[in-house]
């Protein structure tokens, strides 16, 4: 049997947990929306305030590869980089585009996209956690956030949950400046890729082979890609999709997977401007332009931004001329 004091003890425990959750949760919420720098401050700015002509979306390769200064200079338009570190799924750019285009229509959207990112990957939905603080603010994000797990609604009953693992950053970015300051969302990478030795190369090839063996298409990613294209068409925004350079010591390009081919088919069918720089000969083996295997450093990003700036300039003037003719 349970005694009265035992029932009281359980009650006090549950009450203490509830009160502590509400207290820590509301302090975190307050701190979240007052951050001055950092990833969340950039996301907050891009979702609620940004009104530039060019918007860049994608993962860390978007954030670190598209130099907003170079693109602004080249295209004579204002530019903001809304790329999110670790955002490997296209669901994040889709969520951002969905919210932002309700408030402001940019002239150009640049999407950093690897066709292979439509393959099913465990953990691809994890980074959607960055949207959790906006669950109540933007109802249009709810179905996307709920893709994280079937129990997401229940987890969101906790006031702390949307700010899970963020407490140090919330304090840091409210009181201090960020370690890596952004330039209109763009964060340059400093440093250079290390030369890889033979053993490491062998294990990388093995790992790549293993990844390639077990993949299937993630229909949510395909739908997100289609929706991005649809929104841009409906709202008359010029969409440019790029797969930016990766570090390859040698040109060992293999055929795209069936899933990646499906994504490319959608892009081609919709006549979207798409350029794949992932095996661009200008970047292959250029140690001095890469921070690591997947990311350009500041120098590489500047060169790459210049290349795509020129490309967009040419294409965009053609688009404008075509529109004027019509």
């Amino acid at each position: 049997m349970i005694t009265k004091s035992q029932i009281l003890c359980i009650f006090y425990f549950l009450l203490a947990v509830f009160l502590a959750d509400q207290l820590v949760g509301s302090v975190s919420r307050k701190l979240y929306f007052t951050q001055k720098t950092g990833q969340s401050a950039c996301l907050n700015y891009s979702l609620q305030k940004c009104k530039t002509d060019i918007l860049i979306f994608g993962n860390s390769r978007a954030q670190h590869h598209y130099d907003t200064r170079v693109l602004s200079d080249c295209l004579k338009m204002s530019c903001y980089n809304a790329g999110i570190d670790g955002g490997h799924s296209i669901l994040l750019p889709y969520s951002q585009i969905k919210v932002m285009t309700k408030r402001h229509l940019p002239k150009i959207i640049i999407l950093e996209f690897r066709p292979s990112s439509v393959e099913y990957k465990e953990g691809a939905y994890d980074r959607l956690s960055i949207l959790l603080p906006y669950y109540s603010k933007f109802p249009e994000l709810r179905p996307i956030i709920q893709l994280r797990s079937p129990s997401e609604k229940i987890k969101l009953l906790s006031a702390i949950y949307p700010f899970n693992s963020d407490i140090i950053n919330l304090l840091w970015f409210n009181t201090n400046s960020a370690r890596k300051k952004d330039i209109a969302g763009y964060i340059p990478f400093v440093g250079q890729v290390m030369k890889i030795n033979k053993l490491a190369k062998q294990s990388q090839i093995t790992a790549q082979h293993q990844i390639a063996t077990y993949s299937s298409v993630d229909t949510n990613m395909i739908i997100a890609l289609q929706n991005i294209i649809r929104i841009c068409k409906e709202k008359n925004i010029s969409l440019f999709i790029f797969n930016s350079p990766s570090f390859h010591e040698f040109n060992e390009k293999s055929l795209p997977s069936p899933e990646a081919r499906l994504a490319l088919e959608i892009i081609n069918r919709n006549k979207v401007n798409y350029v794949d720089f992932s095996f661009d000969s200008r970047f292959i083996g250029q140690f001095q332009w890469f921070k690591d295997m997947s990311h350009l450093n500041e120098k590489g990003a500047s060169i790459y931004s210049q290349i795509i700036g020129e490309l967009i300039k040419k294409k965009y003037s053609e688009i404008l001329a075509f529109k004027r003719q019509r």
């Binding site: 502590a20 820590v24 407490i167 053993l199 490491a200």
Partner: protein
């Protein structure tokens, strides 16, 4: 991880074989008993061999044959390793061996025997229970007992803390470094290796606490699986405190069967080494695990071989006159030795492991810090764990982290634990490492 219903047949197959093997072992005498035992062991090991080791052996055979100019025509099987296969196979084997040895009566109730193999708190990652400890508990009546239920829940909460706040947090750094080992400095590799030592401990001991706690809530007592292993003063002691249910399994059923300590000293060395190599292989069909086992086997053999000399040396350098310092030194050395072995356990392959070993002692370059926040959480988690473990090791001697006579202080302590889990726990951290075994 996926649920494949047809894989339940594997479990069903071993349960049926071992259930009948147990009864026949009890009924028969002489050589016939031995045959039944061997048949049961072959069935269990056979299932493991097919699902866990076939592709590994076949791939290695192909490589061996191709090096001498032949092509292996036998294809690999496209099968997924059922989770926890090694655990329930070993638990089933311990039943037939104990019946054979006369320490356990054959279980006539098929439902009870099935429950022994499939008891859900410990089905996928142990502790690997002995029939003498578990089967009789299924016959006992279990009543609701507030204190026991609360103790079980507290243990589960502490297990969750170890898993979500420490193990999964450290995993973020460890994975970032070990999955791109060639891109990191010696210092970074050393830090990631120390992190991994705590990650795997908190991951597995965390799971064990959850399993033991869940069983306790229902009124069942499972064996202790971890006893603060990083406070061990030798590798031999480490293995008495780490994954105790597996270590004792190998001791009781393999090491003793090979002759134990009753054979010549050279044979003891060989047996110890062999047992640890097999223990490595039990963890996974990969050369990294085999080498990890071999390193631990070597440590033990080396420790026995040099025991007299080390005692003399301690006397010469006055270590035996400073017992506290000597203790801490031994704990430090044991931890470093364990960490060195963990490199092979965690590395993606042998090439990576060798490269890490090559770089780790260079101490060149800076420490990789992608996100200060992760490191702060990681160090804070380890600090908190060590504080609790030191208290438990030298002071309170309890399975639970917070023990006090004041009820509301305990309520406060566990409230803080829940809030810490919610605030800094990693909720996307994936599965327990030992589920793969």
């Amino acid at each position: 991880m996926a649920f494949i219903p047809v894989y339940l047949l594997i479990l069903g197959f071993t349960i049926i074989i071992d259930y009948f093997a147990g009864i026949w072992l009890e009924k028969t005498q002489g050589k016939e008993r031995k045959y039944f035992l061997i048949a049961s062991l072959i069935a269990n090991i056979g299932v493991l061999a097919v699902f866990k080791y076939y592709n590994f052996l076949n791939t290695n055979l192909s490589e061996l044959l191709s090096s001498i100019g032949y092509i292996n025509q036998i294809p690999n099987l496209s099968i997924i390793l059922p989770i926890g296969l090694s655990f329930h196979t070993f638990q089933a084997m311990s039943y037939t061996i104990e019946v054979y040895r006369g320490n356990q009566k054959a279980e006539r109730n098929f439902g009870i025997y099935s429950l022994y193999v499939m008891f859900y708190p410990q089905l996928v990652a142990g502790p690997i229970e002995r029939p003498q400890n578990l089967i009789h508990q299924f016959y006992e009546k279990h009543y609701f007992e507030y204190a026991r239920v609360v103790e079980g829940l507290k243990l589960m909460l502490w297990g969750l803390f170890m898993k979500l706040v420490i193990a999964d947090r450290l995993a973020i750094y460890v994975n970032a470094v070990y999955n791109n080992a060639d891109q990191h400095s010696g210092k970074t590799l050393a830090l990631a290796t120390v992190f991994f030592a705590f990650q795997i401990y908190c991951d597995f001991a965390g799971y064990s606490n959850i399993a033991i706690g869940a069983a306790k809530v229902m009124g069942f007592k499972l064996m202790t699986n971890f006893n603060r292993p990083y406070f061990s003063r030798s590798i031999s002691e480490f293995w008495k405190r780490w994954h105790i249910s597996l270590s004792t399994w190998f001791r009781d059923y393999l090491y003793i069967s090979l002759g134990g300590n009753r054979v010549k000293v050279q044979r003891i060395y060989l047996n110890l080494f062999l047992v640890f190599v097999i223990s490595g292989l039990w963890h996974g069909a990969n050369w990294t695990y085999i080498i990890w086992g071999a390193i631990n086997g070597f440590y033990l053999v080396f420790a026995i071989f040099t025991e007299k000399w080390r005692k003399k040396l301690n006397h010469v350098i006055f270590l035996d006159r400073a017992p506290h310092f000597h203790n801490y030194l031994q704990i430090g050395i044991t931890f470093i030795l364990a960490c060195f072995a963990w490199i092979f356990f965690r590395a993606n392959n042998v090439n990576d492991a060798l490269m890490i070993v090559e770089h780790i002692f260079s101490f060149q370059g800076s420490i990789y810090i992608e996100d200060y926040q992760q490191l702060i959480y990681g160090f804070a988690g380890i600090g908190f764990l060590l504080f609790i473990e030191i208290m438990r090791e030298y002071n309170i001697h309890s399975a639970l982290p917070f023990v006090t006579n004041h009820r509301y202080k305990e309520v406060l302590a566990y409230t803080v634990l829940v809030i810490l889990i919610m605030t800094v726990g990693v909720f996307d951290g994936g599965q327990f490492i030992y589920f793969q075994f």
